[in-house]
C-alpha cells in the first residue's frame, strides 16, 4: 500500500475516531484513503480551527486530539493552536503534509520548515521522508502526546513518502533511549510531605490543571476532606474541585477571590498539585506566599524550582502520588492531626466579607456578569463551558459554578483570543450529548467565527453567547486603569456592525439577541431549546464593566483591589 494508506491505517490503529483538517497539495495523498476510512474527518474552514477543535476534543474526553493540514500556510496556521496546546499541556497529534523530500530546502511552492518552526512549541516533532517510518512515527507521537506531561506532537510527512509504496505494520511496542516519564512518586518525598503537612498550621491546596489531566479529582476530594484545608483552583483547574464544596475558596491569581489570593499569601504550607506558579497566580514572585513552605507535586521535573523553590518536590503522576499520600496521611493523622480552627476562622471571615460580586449598570443596560451568571445557573453544572480570552473569560471563570472536571475549557497559558468557537466545536464532537456553550467576546468571536459554518454543516450544535461590549474589553480595562482612559484601538466602534444575528443566520445558525436585563433568562432558555443547529446569542452588554478583584500585573498579591482604588479592609481582618 502507499505511505498515505499506511498513515490512515496507523491512525486507525491508534484508535482515532475523529480528526479536524483541511486538504491541500502536499497532504492530498492522505485524503484519498481517508475517504474510505471509518475515521470521521471534519472539514474546517481554517487550520487554526482544526487545531483548537482538536484541543477542545482532547480537553473534554481526555483522549488525544488530532488535526491535519497541508504544507506551508496550512501548517503555519496550526502554529497558534500548537503553542496553545503546549502551554496548557493538551495531548494533540498534528499531521502535516510536506513538499516532496527532493524539494525540501529549495523554497518550493508551499514549503515551510514546520518542524523547525514548531520545535519550541511542541513536546516533540517529526519529519518523515521514508514511508516505512510512518507507523512508528505515529505510534510514538500518540505515546509522547498522551504520557508524562501531555502536549502536542507534530508529524510532518513529505509528499513522496505518502505516495511511495510500503508495507504497513503497526508496532506493538516502542522504544525510547531517553524518554521515560516518572509515574510513581519517590517514597522519601511522600514521607517528607507527610511530615510538613502534619506540622502545618495554615495549609492550602494550590490546585492546577494537572489534577484534571491526571483524572485525579476523586483523590483530590479525599485528601482535601482528610486534611480539611482550604482548596484553591487555578484558571486551568476550575471544575477539578466542586465550587459548592465548603473547603473551596475559589480561584487564586490576578482576578481571583480575596479569600483564595489571601489564603496563598498567608499560608505556611502550599500543597501544590499540578500547578506551575504562573505569574498570573503569584503576582510579584518575591512577595508571593513569603512564609509558606512548598510541597510541589508534578509529573514534569522541570516545573520543580522553575519559579518557586520547592521544599518537598514530588515527581509523579498526580493520581498515583495522591493514592500513596492519602493512606500515609491517614496513618499520620491517627497520631497527630493539624488543628486548622484558627486558620479557617480567618479564611471564613474573608470569604464571607469579600464574595465575588458586581454592580448593576446605572444606565439600565445588561450586566455582562449577570448574563454569565444566569447562563451557568440555567444550563447547569453538567454543561461544558468554553471561553475565549479577556474579560468574558474571567467572568466565565468566576460566575459559572463548576462542579466537575472537564466542564471548563479556556486558553489559560497562551491566552489565545479566538479559542472559544473552534474549541467548543471540538468539545461538542467529543461529547455530542452534552450542552456546550462557548462564552465569547465580540473581539474574540470575530477572529474564528467561521467555524460556525463547519458546525452548521456537520451537525455540531454548539451554543455561543457573545458578550458584546463593542470593545476589546480587557485591554480597555487596562487602559482605564493604567493609561488614563486613553482608549487607543480598543473600541470596536459598534454593537451593530457586524450584525451577529444576521451573521449567525448567514452561517446556518439560529441567531438571537438580548438587550435588556429582564430578557436574559428567556433568551438563554430559548437558546437551550434549539438543539438541531448551532445558536448564537448576541448579548449587548454594559461597556464599562470591569473584572474585579484584580492584582495589577507585576505587583504583589498583597495589593489586591476589590474595586477601582479600593483594597480590602485588612485592619478588620484577623490575619
Amino acid at each position: 500500500m502507499t505511505g498515505a494508506s499506511s498513515l490512515v491505517k496507523s491512525l486507525e490503529a491508534a484508535g482515532v475516531d475523529v480528526m479536524f483538517g483541511i486538504p491541500g497539495g502536499a497532504v492530498l495523498p492522505v485524503y484519498d484513503p481517508l475517504f474510505d476510512s471509518k475515521i470521521r474527518h471534519i472539514l474546517v474552514r481554517h487550520e487554526q480551527g482544526a487545531g483548537h477543535a482538536a484541543t477542545g476534543y482532547a480537553q473534554v474526553t481526555g483522549r488525544v486530539g488530532v488535526c491535519m493540514a497541508t504544507s506551508g500556510p496550512g501548517a503555519t496556521n496550526l502554529v497558534t493552536p500548537l503553542a496553545d496546546a503546549q502551554m496548557d499541556s493538551v495531548p494533540l497529534v498534528a499531521i502535516t503534509g510536506q513538499v516532496p523530500s527532493a524539494a525540501i530546502g529549495t523554497d518550493a511552492f508551499q514549503e515551510a520548515d514546520i518542524r523547525g518552526i514548531t520545535m519550541p512549541i511542541t513536546k516533540h516533532n517529526y519529519l518523515v521522508t521514508n514511508p516505512d517510518d510512518i507507523p512508528r512515527a505515529i505510534a510514538e507521537a500518540f505515546h509522547i502526546a498522551s504520557t508524562g506531561r501531555p502536549g502536542p506532537v507534530l508529524v510532518d510527512i513529505a509528499k513522496d513518502a505518502l505516495q511511495k509504496m510500503t508495507n504497513f505494520s503497526y508496532p506493538t511496542s516502542i522504544q525510547f533511549a531517553g524518554y521515560k516519564p516518572q509515574v510513581e512518586p519517590d517514597a522519601q518525598a511522600i514521607r517528607d510531605a507527610v511530615a510538613l503537612i502534619a506540622q502545618a498550621k495554615k495549609p492550602v491546596f494550590y490546585v492546577g490543571g494537572g489534577i484534571i489531566k491526571a483524572n485525579a479529582s476523586r483523590q483530590l476530594m479525599q485528601i482535601a476532606e482528610l486534611l480539611g484545608a482550604p482548596v484553591v483552583t487555578t484558571l486551568m483547574a476550575r471544575g477539578a474541585f466542586p465550587d459548592s464544596h465548603n473547603l473551596h475558596l475559589g480561584m487564586p491569581g490576578m482576578h481571583g477571590t480575596v479569600a483564595a489570593v489571601t489564603a496563598l499569601q498567608k499560608s505556611d504550607l502550599l500543597i501544590t498539585l499540578g500547578a506551575r506558579f504562573d505569574d498570573r497566580v503569584t503576582g510579584k514572585l518575591s512577595s508571593f506566599a513569603v512564609n509558606a513552605k512548598v510541597i510541589h507535586a508534578d509529573i514534569d521535573p522541570a516545573e520543580i524550582g522553575k519559579n518557586r523553590f520547592a521544599d518537598v518536590p514530588i515527581i509523579g503522576d498526580l493520581a498515583h502520588t495522591l493514592n500513596v499520600l492519602i493512606p500515609a496521611l491517614q496513618a499520620e493523622f491517627k497520631k497527630n492531626k493539624p488543628d486548622l480552627t484558627v486558620w479557617w476562622r480567618q479564611m471564613s471571615s474573608l470569604r464571607a466579607t469579600y464574595p465575588l460580586g458586581y454592580d448593576k449598570p446605572a444606565d439600565g443596560s445588561v450586566s455582562p456578569q449577570y448574563v454569565i451568571e444566569r447562563l451557568g445557573a440555567i444550563s447547569g453544572p453538567d454543561s461544558i463551558y468554553v471561553a475565549g480570552v479577556g474579560q468574558h473569560q474571567m467572568w466565565a471563570s468566576q460566575f459559572v459554578k463548576y462542579e466537575k472536571p472537564r466542564t471548563w475549557l479556556n486558553s489559560g497559558g497562551l491566552g489565545t483570543m479566538g479559542y472559544a468557537v473552534p474549541a467548543a466545536m471540538g468539545a461538542k464532537v467529543g461529547m455530542p450529548d452534552t450542552t456546550v456553550w462557548a462564552i465569547d467576546g465580540d473581539g474574540c468571536f470575530q477572529m474564528t467565527n467561521q467555524e460556525l459554518v463547519t458546525c452548521a454543516l456537520n451537525n455540531i450544535p454548539i451554543k455561543v453567547a457573545i458578550i458584546n461590549n463593542e470593545s476589546l474589553g480587557m485591554v480597555r480595562q487596562w487602559q482605564t486603569m493604567f493609561y488614563e482612559g486613553r482608549y487607543s484601538n480598543t473600541s470596536l466602534h459598534s454593537k451593530r456592525i457586524p450584525d451577529f444575528v444576521k451573521l449567525a443566520d448567514a452561517m446556518g445558525c439560529a441567531g438571537l439577541r438580548c438587550e435588556r436585563p429582564e430578557d436574559v433568562d428567556a433568551v438563554i432558555k430559548e437558546a437551550m431549546s434549539i438543539n438541531d443547529q448551532p445558536v448564537v446569542v448576541d448579548f449587548r452588554v454594559f461597556r464599562d464593566a470591569m473584572v474585579w478583584p484584580m492584582v495589577a500585573a507585576g505587583t504583589s498579591n498583597d495589593e489586591i483591589m476589590i474595586a477601582r482604588g479600593i483594597a480590602p479592609d485588612w485592619d478588620s481582618q484577623e490575619l
Partner: protein, 185 residues
C-alpha cells in the same frame, strides 16, 4: 554566576542540535561553548556544553534539556572528576622572533604544525587556562588568525556517562502501545 560544563548524550537523529539550540535560545541560557561529535555508539552523539550561570539555574537547564525526547543522559562535568580539553590552532607571524616563539610553544607543550611564508601555525591542546596562557604570550607577536574547539570532557577512571543509558545496559525502555481508549479513564 559560575562556569558549568554539561555532558549530554543525545540520539543521533536529524534536528537534535537545533532542538538543543532552540531550547537554550528560548529560555535565554547563554552558551560559552558547545562541542558535538560522534561516540563509541553510532546511534548516540555527545555534546559538551559550557555555560555561565547560577547553580540553581543549572538544575533547571538540566531538567529542561532532559525534557527533550532525544536527550538520553546528562551529567555535570566537574573539575575534580573529569578530564577537560580544548583544541587551539593559531597563526602567528614569525618575523625576527622565531626562537622566542618556538620556546613559548614548547613551554605549553604545543606543536608547530606548519611553517610557511613567515608564519607559524601552532596546535595546542589543554585545559582552558593553558590555552589562555599560550594565547596571552603569543598576542604581543601578532596573531593573524585563530580557531578554537569548544571544550570536551570525559570522566576519570572507569565511570562513563554511557553507563547510565538504558541501552548500554542492554535494557530498552519498551513502552506498550495503547490505543486512544487506553488513555481515557
Amino acid at each position: 554566576m559560575s562556569t558549568h560544563t554539561l555532558a549530554v548524550l543525545v540520539e543521533n537523529s536529524p534536528g537534535v542540535l537545533a532542538r538543543v539550540a532552540s531550547l537554550f535560545s528560548r529560555r535565554a541560557y547563554n552558551i560559552d561553548s558547545l562541542a558535538v561529535g560522534p561516540t563509541e555508539n553510532p546511534d548516540i552523539s555527545r555534546m559538551t556544553i559550557v555555560l555561565n550561570l547560577d547553580g540553581h539555574v543549572l538544575d533547571q537547564v538540566m531538567a529542561q534539556l532532559y525534557k527533550l525526547v532525544n536527550v538520553i543522559a546528562i551529567s555535570e562535568m566537574t573539575d575534580n572528576t573529569t578530564i577537560k580539553r580544548e583544541l587551539l590552532l593559531v597563526k602567528v607571524e614569525t618575523g625576527s622572533h622565531r626562537n622566542e616563539l618556538a620556546a613559548i610553544v614548547e613551554k605549553y607543550s604545543a606543536v608547530i604544525v606548519n611553517e610557511d611564508e613567515g608564519f607559524f601555525t601552532v596546535e595546542a591542546t589543554g585545559v582552558p587556562a593553558q590555552i589562555e596562557g599560550l594565547l596571552n604570550e603569543l598576542t604581543p607577536y601578532g596573531i593573524k588568525e585563530l580557531v578554537q574547539s569548544g571544550l570536551v570532557a570525559l570522566e576519570k577512571g572507569s565511570a562513563a556517562l554511557s553507563d547510565r543509558t538504558l541501552s548500554a545496559q542492554g535494557i530498552s525502555t519498551l513502552h506498550e502501545i495503547g490505543t486512544q481508549a487506553d488513555y481515557q479513564n
